[in-house]
């Protein structure tokens, strides 16, 4: 084992690539992002083109993953659906992260009744079933991708509020926070300079996991017809449409299923790897 200084000198990227779960998870996530990016410029066929005469074709040289009940190219639909999944994940997690972490940090910094109020609010959010919330939301504002994203984002807020508060409380109890107070720092500066950097790894890990959950949730909502509306392709709706054909064309359900599973797996693996890499102590001990 070489000296810590030498290891640190090799650069973050080198270290990241040597980390097995980060490397494999990152590769899967990169594949997801790459496919989504590619679909903006090119897909084998149009994902929207309905050719009823070519319906339910098995995989072939022309249609690599076959066609669906309306004769649309499955591969093209999956590719365009990836865009949809990423967009949902990014926006929903951002909503949850921003609002939730702010609330969690506030609760940890103020304690007392503020903490109680925030946490009871989070409990309320948790107790309310996510799908019910989404149904309520879409019932009021109409089913659409945007409303589904907002509903999933709101569902993420209490998750991050809880995790942010719990992690921040641990940091607040550390002696270096007492030292910062003895140096005359106020709650806001301690939160920004000491607490937030120290809970960042936990938040990053949670964000990747929530990203995966958001993709799943969007698939579930679209499956119920509450998310992405036709003709825009979505993995969840593809599953829904494949359901009626499950005995005649089982592959139609398998492909979007694999796409969802691989994305979720990749994000989870990447989150695990990130947790190790973001922590300087673990990283240099390796």
């Amino acid at each position: 084992m070489s000296s810590p200084a030498a290891l640190a000198g090799r650069g973050v990227l080198r270290r990241a690539l040597r980390h097995p779960s980060f490397a494999s998870g990152g590769a899967l996530t990169l594949l997801l992002v790459g496919v989504a990016a590619l679909s903006l410029a090119w897909t084998p066929h149009s994902a929207y083109l309905i050719q009823v005469r070519q319906r339910l074709l098995p995989p072939s040289g022309l249609h690599w993953l076959g066609t669906d009940t309306l004769g649309r190219d499955v591969l093209s639909m999956l590719m365009v659906g990836a865009q949809n999944s990423i967009m949902v994940g990014v926006v929903a997690v951002s909503i949850g992260l921003t609002a939730g972490v702010a609330l969690g940090l506030l609760a940890a910094a103020r304690r007392g009744w503020v903490e109680e109020a925030v946490m009871r609010l989070a409990d309320f959010g948790f107790a309310f079933p996510a799908i019910l919330l989404a149904i309520l939301f879409t019932a009021v504002f109409g089913p659409s991708a945007v409303n589904a994203i907002i509903a999933i984002g709101i569902f993420n807020v209490p998750v991050f509020a809880r995790i942010g508060r719990a992690a921040a409380n641990v940091v607040w109890a550390r002696e270096f926070v007492l030292a910062a107070r003895a140096a005359g720092k106020g709650r806001l500066r301690i939160t920004l300079e000491h607490v937030l950097p120290n809970i960042l790894p936990i938040l990053v890990v949670q964000a990747t996991i929530q990203f995966a959950i958001a993709i799943l949730a969007e698939a579930a909502l679209s499956y119920l017809g509450l998310g992405t509306q036709p003709p825009n392709p979505s993995w969840g709706r593809m599953l829904n449409e494949a359901q009626t054909m499950i005995f005649t064309a089982p592959l139609l359900a398998v492909f979007p299923g694999i796409a969802i599973a691989l994305s979720v797996l990749g994000l989870n693996l990447m989150g695990d790897g990130l947790r190790d890499l973001v922590d300087p102590r673990l990283a240099r001990a390796r």
Partner: protein, 327 residues
């Protein structure tokens, strides 16, 4: 006589515990219960006592990190407990703290330079180059290289980290440094180094130390004056030499007897204390130490002895203090 730098008056800190039953009032822990002392500029004042006697709470009260339940702390004539937040913050440059655990008192995500410079960030008068220079100066004063400021805490040993913590306390050029068990987490071999460093810094900068420790040898080595605490109260106070040679309180004597001393040819009679440390929630009516005291008489259990002056600037809270000094 030199100037009084720090004055604690009837300082108390009570904590309310969660109630054990719906029908009982929640128990109160009297962690610090009426402590008074003065600290002269340029001197070192030691506070000793076993774990749980309220030493660290006292340190946090003096540092104005916790509000006292009663009493006051005056530093340079200002009552820290009544100062508005902004003024207290400005005054903080005059009193800094060194913590017990050199692994916990430095943020693992901040470089040494940032940690050492942290107390400066509120002073406004030091930014950029001036700040970097003060950091380098403070690091040099504790025997570290200015190049170390780009490193992270985990790259240093315990002794080095405690030097960093001392550098951080020194950087605002404070009058008072409160050191809460500054060497007890360190290897014996590094202790003397850190203690000598602290003494050198005192000689050079005219620092005043409030030194909290359970290690009597350390206090004897460093402090001019010492106070012995038991269950939140000072039971004896006086010049270190006087207290250590001829303790006037049975608890001080028991503490001193518990220290093994390499004194060939002289056998010391060990007086071991019987019983448990009393609970700080249920304080007995009389002397808190009476249940364990070898000298206890019936009146000790009903009548609490006050801290009263004896010879040589000494104070003790025991009905038999004179007899102990005579005997």
């Amino acid at each position: 006589m030199s100037e009084i730098l720090l004055e604690a008056r009837d300082l108390a800190r009570h904590y309310r515990l969660p109630r054990t039953s719906l029908f009982h009032p929640s128990p109160v822990v009297r962690a610090v219960d009426g402590v008074s002392f003065e600290l002269l500029r340029g001197r070192s004042f030691g506070i000793v006592g076993e774990s749980g006697c309220g030493k660290s709470t006292l340190a946090r009260l003096v540092m104005a990190l916790e509000p006292p339940s009663a009493g006051s702390v005056r530093l340079l004539g200002c009552d820290l407990t009544r100062l508005p937040a902004g003024e207290l913050r400005r005054l903080r440059s005059q009193f800094q703290m060194v913590f017990q655990d050199p692994f916990g008192s430095l943020d693992p995500r901040h470089t040494i330079g940032r940690a050492v410079g942290e107390p400066l960030s509120l002073l406004g008068d030091a930014d950029g180059a001036a700040r970097a220079e003060r950091v380098a100066e403070a690091l040099a004063a504790v025997g570290l290289s200015p190049a170390d400021r780009a490193k992270y805490p985990h790259e240093f040993s315990g002794g080095q980290r405690q030097r960093i913590a001392i550098a951080r306390a020194l950087i605002t050029r404070p009058a008072l440094i409160v050191a809460d068990e500054p060497v007890s987490a360190l290897d014996v071999s590094v202790r003397a180094q850190v203690l000598n460093l602290m003494q050198d810094l005192q000689d050079r900068n005219g620092l005043t130390y409030l030194f909290i420790s359970h290690d009597l040898a350390v206090v004897e080595y460093v402090c001019d004056e010492v106070a012995v605490m038991y269950l939140g109260r000072i039971v004896e106070r006086g010049p270190t030499q006087a207290v250590f040679r001829r303790p006037a309180h049975p608890y001080s004597r028991a503490l001193l007897d518990a220290v093994p001393r390499p004194e060939p040819g002289r056998r010391r009679r060990r007086r071991q204390l019987a019983g448990q440390v009393g609970s700080a929630t249920e304080r007995p009516a009389g002397c808190a130490f009476a249940p364990r005291c070898p000298l206890a008489e019936p009146r000790c259990r009903t009548q609490a002895p006050a801290l009263r002056p004896l010879d040589e600037g000494r104070f003790a809270a025991c009905h038999f203090a004179e007899a102990m000094l005579a005997g």
